[in-house]
Amino acid sequence: MSTVEASPRASLAARLFQSGAHQKLLAFASLVILLIGFSLASPSFMQTSNIIAILQATSVNGVLAIAATLVIITGGIDLSVGTLMTFCAVIAGVVLTYWGMPLPVGIVAAIAAGALCGLTSGTFVAKMKIPPFIATLGMMLMLKGLSLVISGTRPIYFNDTPGFTEISRGSLIGAVIPGLPIPNGVLILFLVAMAASYILGRTVLGRYTFALGSNEESVRLSGVNTDAWKMAVYALAGGICGIAGLLIASRLNSAQPALGLGYELEAIAAVVIGGTSLAGGRGSILGTLIGALIMAVLANGLRILSVAQEWQTVVTGAIIILAVYADMMRKRRMG
C-alpha cells in the first residue's frame, strides 16, 4: 500500500485539535459570541487583568474537567473529582506543613495520592463491577470525610513553604514576556491539556480509553485486559485531580478541607458543553477546555455586568442549554 497519510508528526497545536477533529468543535462559536457580547456590554471586560482573571478562574475547573473527560470517554463518570482535588490538597498540606518536607515531595505526594484514589475508584468499577456513578459517589463521600479527618477539620496553610503559592500565582511567562503576566496556573492547565490530548490521541492508553467507551465487550473479546486499562484511566484521572489540588491549594495558600462538593457537576458540565458524549467513546480535550472557558467567561461576565446574583444563575442555566443546542443544530446540519 502506498502512503496516503498526513505527516505522522503533527504540530502540538494540531495534536490538541486532532483528537477532537471528527467532533467539529462548535462550542467554540458560543464562546466567541459570549466574548463579543460581554466586550460590547462592558468596557471592563476585555482588559488584560480581567482576561487573566478569567483564565485563572478556568484553571482549576479546567484541570478537573480534563480528568472527568478521560473517565467519561471510557463511558464512565467521575463524581469524585472535586473532593479528590481537596483530598490531594490536604495531603500536600500534611506533607509540606505538618511534616515539613521539601516542596517537590509535597507535589509528588499530592499527585500520587490522587492517582491512588483514582486507582481505587477504577478497581471498584473494573474489578467489582460497581457502576461508575456509585463507585465515584461513594469515593466522593469517603474523600470528603477523610479530608476533614486528616486535616482535623481545619484549613492547612502553606506559610512555611515559600514558593508553594508560585505554583499557581507566579508567572513564568510574565518573567520572560513582561507584558503577558499569565499565571502559572494557566500554564499548568495548558500543559495538562496538551499531555492529556497527546495521551488520548497518540498512545495505547488513549486508544483503549476510546475503545472502552465505544464497545467494552468487543474490546474484551479482542483479548484486551480491559479491567487493567480502565483502572489505568481512572488512576490517570486521579493524578490529574492531584494537580488540580495543588493548583487550588497554591491559589488559596491553604488546603480547605471542606471545599470541593459541587465542583464535580461544574466539571462534568464543561466536559459535556465541550461536545464529549456522556455515552462514552467520543470526546476531546480541546472541547473540554472550551467548555470550561465558556463557564468561566459566563460567570465573570455576568458579575462584571453586575447582574443580580439570582439572575446570574438563571442566565447561566439558559446559556448552557443554548450553547449545547447551537452545537447540536450545527452538528445536525453538517450531518
Binding site: 502512503t3 497519510e5 475503545a211 464497545n215 467513546g281
Partner: protein, 524 residues
C-alpha cells in the same frame, strides 16, 4: 441422546490427519434452555466444515464455547489432540482460534484499522501508537480481500455490509489456524460473497481449518468440504458436502423434507394501487425514485450494496427526511414526516438492522411483538391489556416457530434468527396495508425462510402491498411479482417477475451506471 448418529462420519479430504479441533460430549445450559446436549464436532486442518441447523439449534453457542466466550458445562475440547481449556477469548487467540461473530461487535467510534488491531496495535516506545503502520497494515489486509475501504473511516459510519467486511478483515488479521465464521455472508451481496469465497479457498490451501455457519444453502456446495448438522442442541450428523444432496441436509436440519412451491404471478392489472411514490429524492442517496405497488402485489427491490434501497424505504417510512417526493397511500397524498405518520397511513417497515432499529433487546418477546400495536392493547386510562398481549405474542411464537422458553424471555437471549422472527411478528401484528421488508430473511434458517415466503405470499393474497428488499437474488426472483432494481440511488428499471427474468437481467440494471442511464422505470 446416544452419540450414535444415523449418518456416517466421513473424514476430510486428505489422509488420516489429526483434527485440529475436536469437541466431545459438549453440554451447555442456560436458564430455561438446554442449548447443547452431548454435542460432537471436529475440524481438520485445511477443511471448510459447514455447521448447519435451524435458528436456535445451538451453532453460535457451540462456537462461543470453542472461542472462550462461554464456559462449557461438560465435555471436552481437544486442540491438536490434547485436551485444552479455553477459558477466555485471549486464550482462544493464543491457540490460534479466531472468530467472526454473528452479531457485529465493533467499536463504532474507532476507525476500521483501529478496530482490526484493537489489542495488538503497532507500538513505538513509551506506549505510543504507530498509526501509520496501523493504517498501512489494515490497508494491506483490505487489498488482499479486494476491498475498497479507507482504513481511517469511522466504523459507525459504514454500512452493515462494510462493517461485516471489517469484522472479516479483523479475523483474518490474526493469521489463525482455526477460523470460525458465524453467518459472515448474512449482510453481504453476491460480489462480496465471491470475494469472501476466494479468501476462504486461499486459506484452505494454507491449511487453515474453517468452520462456516450459514443459512444460505446454495453456499454449501460451493465452499464446504463437510457439513455437520445440529438440531435442538444435538448433533444430528456429519456428511461430506460433495456427495450429499441439499434436500437431504435440509431434511436433517428440519427433520422433514420441505416442499417449495413455484412462484405464480397473479394478474393484478385491475387491482387498485396501494402505494405510489413520486419523485422521491434526497441528495446523492436517492435520486428521483418513482414507483407504485398494487394491492396484492409483492414488489422486490434488488441492487448492489449501497444502491440506496434502504434509504428509499426509510424515506418513505419517514425515518429519514426527504427533500422531494410525494407519497400516495390508497390514492390519498400523505404528508409523512415521522414513522408515526407512516404507520398511521398504514405503512410498516421492517429494518435490515434488527439489533439497532428493530428490537428493544433488553425487553421481553411479548413487549417487542406488541411494540408497534400498543394502541390496540390499551384500555381505559392507558392501562395495558397484558392478557391480550400475551395471547397475541404466543400466537406468533407458534405461527413463526420462534424458539423461546416463554413470551417473557428477553429478546437478547434469543438466537439471531429467532430475534429476526420477533421483528417480523411485530409487523404482522400491526396489520399494515403496505409492508416494507428490508432483508427479512437475514439470518433465518431454510425451514423458517420458506415459512416466511409463505407468509409474505399470504399477506399479498390478503390484498396487502408488500415490498421486499433483498440482496439475495434467488430470493428476489422466488418471491417478487415485479422486481425494481436500483443503482447509485436511481431506480434503473422494473422487471416483470416469474420465469421470464433471470439473475443476469437484474445484474445488468443493478450495475447500470449514470453514463448509460436511460429514462426508464417509474410508473407502469
Amino acid at each position: 441422546m446416544a452419540a450414535v448418529s444415523p449418518y456416517e462420519m466421513p473424514e476430510a479430504g486428505s489422509g488420516h490427519r489429526q483434527p485440529v479441533v475436536s469437541m466431545r460430549r459438549i453440554e451447555k445450559r442456560f436458564p430455561g434452555v438446554h442449548a447443547l446436549k452431548n454435542v460432537q464436532f471436529d475440524l481438520m486442518p485445511g477443511e471448510v466444515h459447514a455447521l448447519m441447523g435451524e435458528n436456535g439449534a445451538g451453532k453460535s453457542t457451540l462456537m462461543k464455547i470453542l472461542s472462550g466466550i462461554y464456559p462449557k458445562d461438560d465435555g471436552e475440547v481437544l486442540i491438536d489432540g490434547r485436551p485444552t481449556d479455553v477459558p477466555s477469548p485471549r486464550a482462544a487467540q493464543d491457540l490460534g482460534i479466531s472468530i467472526i461473530h454473528q452479531e457485529l461487535s465493533l467499536m463504532n467510534d474507532l476507525t476500521a484499522a483501529q478496530n482490526i488491531f484493537i489489542g495488538r496495535e503497532p507500538r513505538l516506545s513509551f506506549g505510543r501508537l504507530d498509526e501509520t503502520a496501523l493504517n498501512r497494515r489494515a490497508a494491506e489486509i483490505f487489498a488482499s480481500m479486494n476491498l475498497k475501504l479507507d482504513p481511517r473511516a469511522l466504523v459507525g459510519r459504514l454500512t452493515i455490509a462494510k462493517q461485516q467486511m471489517v469484522e472479516i478483515a479483523k479475523a483474518l488479521s490474526f493469521n489463525a489456524r482455526v477460523l470460525i465464521m458465524d453467518e459472515p455472508t448474512a449482510a453481504l451481496n453476491n460480489a462480496e460473497i465471491e470475494e469472501l469465497f476466494i479468501i476462504i479457498r486461499r486459506l484452505r490451501t494454507e491449511g487453515v481449518g474453517i468452520i462456516y455457519i450459514s443459512h444460505k444453502m446454495d453456499e454449501l456446495k460451493r465452499i464446504a468440504d463437510r457439513v455437520t448438522v445440529m438440531r435442538d442442541g444435538q448433533h444430528v450428523g456429519t456428511v461430506a458436502a460433495a456427495d450429499t444432496p441439499v434436500d437431504r441436509i435440509i431434511a436433517m436440519m428440519v427433520g422433514r423434507a420441505l416442499a417449495d412451491s413455484a412462484l405464480t404471478v397473479p394478474d393484478l392489472a385491475g387491482a387498485p394501487v396501494a402505494l405510489e411514490v413520486k419523485g422521491l429524492a434526497r441528495g446523492r442517496e436517492i435520486r428521483d425514485v418513482s414507483f407504485s405497488v398494487r394491492k396484492g402485489e409483492i414488489l422486490g427491490f434488488a441492487g448492489l450494496m449501497g444502491a440506496g434501497r434502504t434509504e428509499v424505504a426509510r424515506a418513505i417510512f419517514g425515518a429519514d427526511p426527504r427533500e422531494a417526493g410525494e407519497i400516495i397511500v390508497d390514492g390519498v397524498r400523505r404528508d409523512i414526516r415521522t414513522p408515526a405518520d407512516a404507520v398511521e397511513a398504514g405503512i410498516g417497515y421492517l429494518s435490515e438492522d434488527r439489533k439497532h432499529f428493530g428490537l428493544a433487546v433488553g425487553m421481553d418477546v411479548r413487549a417487542n411483538i406488541a411494540m408497534a400495536s400498543i394502541g390496540r392493547f390499551t384500555r381505559r386510562f392507558g392501562t395495558l391489556d397484558e392478557t391480550a398481549m400475551r395471547d397475541a405474542a404466543r400466537a406468533y411464537i407458534e405461527q413463526l416457530t420462534i424458539r423461546t422458553p416463554s413470551d417473557r424471555q428477553e429478546v437478547r437471549l434469543l438466537s439471531g434468527g429467532n430475534q429476526q422472527k420477533v421483528v417480523i411478528a411485530k409487523w404482522l401484528l400491526r396489520d399494515c396495508d403496505v409492508l416494507i421488508f428490508d432483508e427479512p430473511t437475514r439470518g433465518i434458517d431454510v425451514g423458517a425462510k420458506s415459512e416466511i415466503y409463505k407468509l409474505l405470499n399470504g399477506l399479498a393474497a390478503q390484498g396487502r402491498a408488500v415490498i421486499v428488499i433483498s440482496s439475495e437474488l434467488p430470493e428476489v426472483l422466488r418471491l417478487s411479482h415485479r422486481i425494481a432494481v436500483m443503482c447509485e440511488g436511481r431506480l434503473t428499471g422494473i422487471l416483470p417477475g416469474g420465469a421470464g427474468t433471470s439473475q443476469e437481467d437484474i445484474m445488468r440494471l443493478a450495475t447500470q451506471r449514470e453514463s448509460v442511464m436511460q429514462p426508464m422505470g417509474g410508473m407502469q
